[in-house]
């Protein structure tokens, strides 16, 4: 980044060196530790100067026009003061600026703004969810008069319970019209769904979308709301903020590794145990800044769902019956001993590094190395070589840089990356999006201008959206230099290049080929081994990267499928629920042991079903898609007899004579990092390191950044790639697989990912139930016509291993010859990889009431 010129500004008589052009509120806070009070200003958004709270006295040191010398007066530089108070948020630091924030005039100005705001603000603090962490409350205490001059009867009475959508409620009385929420949606997310309606004192927030507040980031508006006007349906009246204990944690849903803070409190309804009351963002500028997606915020109910598996189960005849650990562990040990090493593990991305390590050690002790990663993505091993360089931060990509997103619907898969990629484009980065169907990010990429972080200026945006033939992501990227040299060169010659690869429409061979093609492009342009360059993948769940680091691979998984072991352990994955064809090879497994949160399809067939604790109940670490090892802490009371996965295995290993069981996750991590060189010997305490981050949100001045939390739990440690460590990666051969063809008369079924679906983890969150799409299959107009299917008809999709009855969505955006079937929407398992399927009409569309 270019060096910024420093200028001298004087705040309350003291001179400070600050970067030229920095916002005065930010500069005063960061450099002078002077909290200028604000309501409408937010460090992540362009200033609008609406609330007038940040007024200061502003002047300029006068200079002689001819000589440019500072004019002195009584030994002091002469200052030309502006006659009126000025809003600090709309000022940028310039040389010679003089600011006074502590004069009577400023105090009177602030006091009057507070008084004006309170004239129509209700006296709701005792019942307001924001009460206790409310910027208006805090600033009233700091700058307010303390006595009201407004007659109580003159107060406005407005609606206090306006649903802006299913998730967010608006209290019109509390709103102070700062427009933070509107601007957040408009400038940061790009989903312009909120607006002001009417004018003057009648000005109100409304939602323009149908369904209301239709965005994946709505919850953030409640954090940045400087009053209690916006509240989440999840937390409304849940607890007073001062009663909450904040536990640092990591979002368990996707590869972004969003830093969160679990606000917990003891609860009668949860047997007096600590319970997650709400999920709040925790600042990590390199990962999620101060934002979280609605899935991260609202999907936490599964951790205490009664549907969870709560005691170890052992199969007795046809039925699984509950048992206790002291019986289950010895029985398991017997089974494993009897297997004579014919044991394998399939692990999902929900298992932590500690869990994976213990499993790996267990297998090693039993003489097996069959560690399979149960994931739709392959080629993750390349991320260890050419993954984004250490020190990368999507938040710093901008002009001259390029991002390619391929074979992924990023908004649905990793919404946080979607948000950050969109913002990188706002800052001037070139955004290319390639997929076989239109996605929201493709729409973003092809926009030529958007309202970005400036009130009027419309910055031209650079980007391109490409549609390739269904399932041919790897073919497209491999051939890019020939087929679209312009795009190829734009990407290759960019200052920095980040490629985000998904796996939509690809089988494991295709995924591997795509990753290799991406790696080749990166290597060709020298975009490896340095910050802000390299490869990322939308690995499902929170620890897809951890699987790779711990040696769990898709190759092994394929081998397990081909040669099923006598004893198979599934760790936080559900092969039978994910893959309709899994039954055929699973039947060859003699003993199935499953470690799971929920009694799922795999549990139905298991000989042992062992309840594991969710991320909220235990300590552990995840590695996010940018290879950042991040720690989560115990927040919630445990469910039933569930144990941390690592602990179950540790006890089992002790029984098998593999050494004393470790007593803490930290001890497991210690052993892990001592043995795996790629972990660089990191300890839990390294992961807990924090440093001051810009902007300085959280802390005592909630008004500045909203109630996003200061990071006290650790920023995590990013693991270096082999390229970072100096070994120059070489381009590899892309083994282009044959693209799957539909059988005669059938269509090519391509599974897609939806953010909100009906997986076991989602279902307990009733709040989002309305946002979950009804099960559907997307068809092309021409195909539908041929099959005699109309939009909205009930159809049956038949594929190898099963069928699903869904609603047909017919449009032109689906390519011909393809049927898109989102995963985890239908009642029955649908394919997890591309396959051939037939679509048959079942009944006509039912008229919707």
């Amino acid at each position: 980044m270019a060096e910024t010129k420093l200028v001298t500004i004087t705040i309350d008589g003291k001179a400070y060196q600050v970067p030229a052009g920095s916002n005065l509120v930010d500069a005063a806070k960061w450099h002078a530790d002077n909290d200028i009070p604000v309501f409408c200003y937010h460090p992540k958004m362009a200033p609008v100067g609406m609330c007038r709270m940040c007024v200061v006295e502003l002047g300029m040191v006068e200079k002689d026009r001819a000589t440019g010398e500072v004019i002195m007066e009584n030994g002091q530089p002469k200052v030309r003061w502006m006659p009126k108070l000025q809003t600090a948020c709309t000022q940028v630091a310039t040389d010679g600026m003089v600011v006074r924030t502590d004069t009577d005039k400023v105090k009177a100005g602030r006091e009057s703004v507070i008084e004006f705001l309170l004239t129509s603000h209700p006296l709701d603090c005792p019942i307001c969810d924001k009460g206790g962490e409310c910027p208006l409350q805090n600033l009233t205490m700091a700058h307010g008069n303390g006595v009201s001059r407004m007659n109580f009867a003159d107060k406005l009475k407005l609606d206090k319970h306006v649903p802006l959508g299913d998730l967010i409620y608006l209290d019109e009385e509390r709103c102070i019209q700062c427009a933070r929420c509107i601007r957040f949606q408009d400038e940061i997310v790009g989903d312009d769904v909120l607006a002001f309606h009417e004018r003057g004192r009648r000005l109100q927030i409304i939602t323009k979308s149908d369904p209301g507040f239709d965005t994946y980031f709505s919850g953030n508006t409640t954090d940045i709301c400087p009053v209690g006007a916006l509240t989440t349906a999840d937390f409304r009246f849940g607890a007073r903020p001062w009663e909450l204990t904040d536990v640092p944690s990591i979002c368990p849903h996707d590869a972004a590794g969003t830093n969160i803070s679990l606000s917990t409190r003891l609860d009668r309804d949860f047997g007096g145990r600590a319970m997650i009351k709400r999920v709040m963002p925790r600042q990590n500028e390199a990962v999620n800044e101060i934002w979280i997606s609605d899935r991260t915020r609202f999907v936490h109910h599964f951790t205490r769902s009664d549907d969870r598996l709560q005691s170890p189960m052992v199969r007795r005849g046809e039925r699984l019956s509950p048992t206790v650990w002291n019986e289950a562990i010895p029985a398991l040990a017997e089974v494993l001993k009897a297997a004579n090493g014919d044991v394998a593990v399939l692990a999902g991305g929900g298992a932590s590094n500690e869990d994976l390590w213990e499993l790996r050690q267990l297998l090693k002790g039993l003489g097996s190395e069959r560690l399979g990663a149960w994931t739709t993505h392959s080629g993750a091993e390349l991320l260890l070589e050419v993954g984004v360089g250490k020190g990368s931060n999507l938040g710093t990509l901008g002009k001259g840089d390029a991002i390619l997103v391929v074979a992924s619907d990023l908004e649905e898969e990793v919404p946080m990356w979607y948000l950050r990629v969109k913002q990188a484009q706002d800052r001037g980065a070139f955004l290319a999006v390639a997929n076989h169907r239109p996605t929201r990010l493709a729409e973003i990429a092809s926009q030529t201008e958007r309202k970005v972080a400036s009130q009027t200026e419309r910055k031209p945006l650079v980007g391109k959206s490409v549609l390739y033939e269904a399932g041919k992501a790897a073919h497209w990227l491999n051939d890019l230099a020939n087929s679209d040299p312009e795009l190829y060169n734009t990407l290759k010659d960019a200052q920095n290049l980040v490629i985000i690869a998904g796996a939509e429409g690809l089988d494991w061979d295709g995924g591997r080929a795509l990753m290799q093609a991406a790696a080749n492009l990166l290597i060709a342009g020298g975009h490896v081994g340095k910050p802000n360059n390299g490869l990322m993948a939308t690995l499902p769940e929170a620890n897809g990267m951890g699987l790779q680091y711990l040696g769990y691979t898709t190759q092994n998984a394929l081998d397990i499928i081909k040669n099923p072991p006598s004893v198979l352990i599934t760790a936080q994955c559900d092969p039978l629920g994910d893959d309709p064809t899994a039954g055929s090879w699973m039947s060859k497994v003699n003993t199935l042991i499953t470690l799971t949160l929920f009694p799922d399809d795999t549990t139905q067939r298991a000989a042992f079903a062992l309840p594991v604790q969710s991320f909220a109940e235990r300590d552990g670490t995840f590695i996010n898609g940018e290879r950042r090892v991040q720690r989560f802490y115990t927040a919630q009371g445990p469910m039933g007899d569930a144990l941390p996965l690592w602990e179950i295995i540790a006890r089992l290993r002790e029984r098998l004579g593999q050494g004393r069981a470790k007593v803490s996750a930290a001890a497991v991590m210690l052993e892990l990092s001592n043995h795996l060189p790629s972990f660089n010997g990191i300890r839990y305490k390294d992961l807990a390191q924090v440093e001051r981050q810009y902007p300085d949100v959280g802390g005592k001045d909630l008004y500045y950044g909203g109630t996003a939390y200061q990071n006290k739990g650790g920023l995590g440690v990013q693991l270096p790639t082999t390229a970072d460590n100096g070994s120059a990666p070489t381009t590899g051969t892309v083994n282009l697989p044959e693209v799957k063809q539909a059988k005669k008369g059938e269509l090519l079924l391509i599974p897609t990912v939806r953010l909100y679906n009906r997986s076991h983890i989602m279902r307990p969150s009733a709040l989002i139930a309305n946002r979950v799409a009804k099960p559907f299959a997307a068809l092309n107009n021409a195909d539908a016509k041929k099959l005699g299917i109309k939009h909205g008809d009930r159809v049956e999709v038949r594929f190898n291993g099963g069928q699903a009855t869904v609603t047909a969505q017919v449009s032109d955006s689906t390519p011909q010859g393809v049927v898109f079937v989102p995963r985890y929407l239908a009642d029955t398992p649908t394919p997890m990889v591309i396959t051939s399927a037939s679509v048959v009409k079942v009944s006509d569309a039912v008229a919707v009431q």
Binding site: L85, V113, N151, G200
Partner: protein, 436 residues
């Protein structure tokens, strides 16, 4: 005043129908544009600068200076005419547009040429839909004669003119709110800097000049007759003539074009014929509609020239020259209430002091109006108004505070007679009878 030359209502002097392009061209029409196109843009700006022409929208900012702020190097610039005319008591711009549309359009082209803009907009308030249609027809007439569009008058200069109707909001007369509205956004003012003349501050973020209709309509005459001829009219610091809109308690209300050197007496007594009802005398004057400070209409005021500098001496402004005259039957408390209600209705709601302040003021004045107020309420509204005035985002907040601050200052007794005495409710404010 017999020798008064009309500049804006020139058709009065030559007795011609300027609504017809041919008639207008017969009487010096588009001569100014020809002259301007023959000169360099900077020369045009210099002529306007030297003429002493000041913005007629109210602020009185020198027009030539405003034009010279536009950065030359920027490729895209816009010229916008503010025809939102929504100040209380103002009806001058519509007269120009209705009777002399081509002079406005000619001035607009000269201005656009001077700043190097190739697109110009006329932003009209929503109620002016018929005028907009008329202007559109005029523009089409001009197109036929090569006066608009590509290669105007063979000079190689291109300029397209569009009319745009607002949705009826006072705030859209504020230039940045007008730009927002023109862009299709909510009509709320923007923060400055950047100013409209700067990159990032104008229409679609490009440098933009926003001028009032009356200002622009002066420009063709200045180009035709030269800066010195214009400067000779009016006073030292207020060159030219002004359209004065007179309403209220005078015999002959209406729009009158007079040089700035004319006094209030000449206008209100000599021309408008004094108080409308025999036996009553002048009490108060709002010289610039609801937004300017009220003054008692006494001999001192009557003998003041209606120029920018002279009105400042008596503690008010000439602003857009919408003179609202009140005789001694008017209770000033009612005036304060009426104007406050207007600003409460028109406040855009963007900034706190104006949104909350106008609402609060209205509530307290209502109380005083009903005879339920106390002495404390008078000091309260005065204090609230002063608090507003210092820190609002745009001028509307200042305007909204003015009626309170100045009515209390100039007519304290009118308020005091309505406040509660010894805990008993006082006489409510009598509303003026219809037709009065």
């Amino acid at each position: 005043m017999s020798e008064t030359k009309h500049i804006l209502l020139r058709w009065k002097d030559v007795k011609a129908d300027f609504r017809k392009l041919a008639e207008y061209r017969k009487h010096e029409g588009f001569e100014g544009l020809k002259k301007a196109l023959a000169a360099k843009p900077e020369e045009v700006i210099d002529v306007v600068k030297n003429s002493g022409l000041r913005g007629r929208g109210g602020a009185g900012f020198p027009t030539g200076v405003k034009w010279s702020f536009i950065p030359k190097q920027e490729p895209i610039k816009y010229f916008v005419v503010n025809a939102d005319e929504s100040e209380t008591g103002t009806f001058k711009d519509r007269l120009i547009m209705e009777t002399n549309p081509y002079q406005l359009l000619e001035g607009l082209l000269i201005g656009a040429y001077a700043i190097g803009a190739h697109t110009a907009y006329i932003y009209l308030r929503g109620e002016f839909w018929d005028i907009a249609a008329q202007l559109d027809a005029c523009i089409e007439e001009m197109r036929k004669e090569g006066l608009v569009g590509k290669n105007i008058l063979g000079s190689g200069y291109d300029c397209e003119i569009y009319t745009h109707l607002g949705a009826g909001a006072y705030i859209c007369g504020e230039e940045t709110a007008l730009l927002n509205s023109l862009e299709g956004k909510l009509g709320q003012p923007r923060v400055r800097p950047p100013f409209p003349a700067n990159k990032g501050g104008g229409l679609y973020g490009e440098p933009t000049v926003v001028n009032n209709v009356e200002t622009i309509a002066n420009v063709p005459w200045i180009m035709t007759h030269g800066a010195d001829a214009y400067k000779a009219i009016g006073t030292e610091q207020s060159a030219g003539t002004k359209l004065y809109c007179v309403s209220g308690h005078v015999k002959k209300p209406g729009v009158y074009e007079l040089p700035f050197s004319a006094t209030f007496r000449e206008l209100l007594v000599d021309i408008c014929g004094g108080p409308s009802v025999e036996g009553r005398s002048f009490k108060a004057l709002l010289p610039s509609g609801g937004s300017g400070p009220i003054v008692p209409l006494n001999d001192k005021v009557l003998d003041t020239r209606m120029s920018y500098e002279d009105t400042a001496k008596i503690g008010t402004i000439i602003g857009s020259a919408s003179l609202i005259v009140m005789d001694d039957s008017v209770d000033i408390t009612w005036v304060a209430s009426k104007v406050t209600k207007f600003f409460k209705h028109e406040s855009c709601g963007k900034c706190t002091p104006c949104r909350e302040g106008t609402y609060w003021l209205d509530k307290v004045i209502d109380r005083i109006m009903a005879g339920e107020g106390s002495e404390r309420d008078i000091t309260l509204i005065e204090n609230v108004a002063k608090n507003m005035a210092g820190i609002t985002l745009c001028a509307l907040g200042e305007f909204a505070a003015n009626p309170i601050i100045h009515t209390i200052k100039q007519f304290p007794d009118d308020f005091k007679q309505h406040v509660k005495k010894d805990g008993k409710a006082a006489k409510p404010v009598a509303l003026p009878a219809a037709g009065d």
